[in-house]
Symmetry: C2
Subunit: 269 residues, 2 copies
């Protein structure tokens, strides 16, 4: 704690010194010193904290790809983020922007406007599972046993709502847009997923599309193919929201895409 406070103070002092200098800064081309990353071993305890902030930013901005686990040194950082207020504020901030966008649209009355929602950590929150000590917010690898237990968790149909996304759902329905839920979850969980979605407040939808076990492509390719089919059928994808970049890149991504935060896992599978 003392180290973190010292780092805080240091940053504040740095910021204050520079921003209150009062000179036109272009007279000081050397004002901004490049501070180079130091090897962790030599740089004291505060650096891993910064590295975890940087790590999360590289993940959320799609700079870091195909990663398999949260680095062990960032476990408590991610735990604090996901269980604290900031994750919720970050979700609400994305949804605020999405709702403002929805309200700016003129939706035709032909019933062909849709909004695509991912399910896991978008419509519903898997935090009860990922906060298990043996999963530890993505630090631990999901081996076959944990994968099976995650599937059981899905089948309970008691996965809690991600509150911000429900707020967006209500806004799109009110605007005359229909919801399409599109998930990489197995088709075998269709009944549980439908029951779960209804139980938390997603009352109705145009389609609930799960991944057939026969499909061997990545989720990204699967979702692109489904969206292509929807467009061919005459639907207009007004928006598309997911917690994974795989949800919102590829073909026919939609008129506007929204990325919810998720520093716990990477959805390339």
């Amino acid at each position: 704690m003392a180290v973190a406070l010292a780092a805080c103070l240091c940053l504040l002092v740095l910021g204050a010194t520079t921003s209150q200098a009062g000179h036109p800064a272009h007279q000081h081309p050397k004002l901004i010193n490049p501070i180079r990353m130091m090897p962790e071993a030599s740089s004291g305890e505060s650096v891993p904290v910064y590295n975890c902030l940087s790590w999360r930013l590289t993940v959320e901005t799609n700079n870091k790809r195909n990663w398999s686990n949260v680095p062990a040194r960032c476990g408590f950082y991610v735990a604090d983020y996901m269980t604290g207020r900031q994750y919720r504020y970050d979700c609400e901030a994305v949804v605020d922007i999405a709702i403002k966008y929805v309200k700016s649209l003129s939706i035709p009355t032909d019933g062909r406007s849709i909004w695509i929602f991912d399910i896991d950590d978008t419509a519903l929150s898997n935090l009860p599972f990922f906060s298990r000590p043996d999963v530890f917010f993505g630090v631990k690898t999901l081996n076959a046993e944990l994968e099976a237990e995650f599937y059981e968790f899905v089948l309970t149909a008691e996965v809690p709502v991600l509150a911000a996304t429900l707020r967006l759902y209500q806004a799109i329905v009110e605007a005359g847009i229909k919801a399409v839920f599109l998930t990489g979850s197995s088709e075998r969980s269709a009944d549980a997923r439908a029951k779960n979605l209804k139980a938390v407040g997603y009352d109705t939808w145009e389609e609930l599309i799960l991944k057939p076990d026969s499909v061997n492509t990545t989720v990204q390719v699967f979702k692109s193919q489904v969206r292509n089919r929807l467009v061919v059928q005459g639907y207009r994808i007004e928006g598309n929201i997911g917690d994974q970049w795989a949800d919102i890149v590829g073909s026919n991504v939609g008129r506007r895409t929204f990325k919810l935060p998720n520093p716990m896992y990477y959805g390339y599978y």
Copy 2:
């Protein structure tokens, strides 16, 4: 300061309580309470700080688009971020990933492999200008007078290097990839930009492409058209790095794209 510390402590306690509970969390489906965003007026002084974190994340993830200024309430937050260590760590983290990617490539010896670098706040850092009190890290609108002064700043050819990007430049050159600098800066600044790039260590390049004053498209469209021309000429765009989403979306974006942080302005112009 006291408020910020109290907020820190609060988050730590929240995090510790939840993550150390020791129960398999799926036995507590109500464990994770949705915390809703409160109106600022009723929520105490710590909330604007969280909102600025959320605001920055929505900007960096391309959720927030077409914004014109840093919100006034986030001015000191952005000032602290940009002048402190975190911005530098965040840049270095992106470049670490990019260099790892470069080292994974097998580059043919035909000299057709290129890497596209944006200039402003990518190859060079405009912080000396944006830290001016009358610009205040993007809080103030760049009116015609300030735009003119920014242009003078560019013409000094003394814009400092963004150290992380120079490190990436050295890695791509070493790997046999040629640099192409592609900027929305006016062609009239070509001499100053070239002199500036060389002065800080970008010794050589395949092309330095500036926007002709006759081009009336957005930077995003201009850069896409240039990349299309490069691909038609037989170049392979192995990578592409910029601080703006407009640098790395569109057509022929490159085999892999990298987004440096920049919470000071939005490059849609």
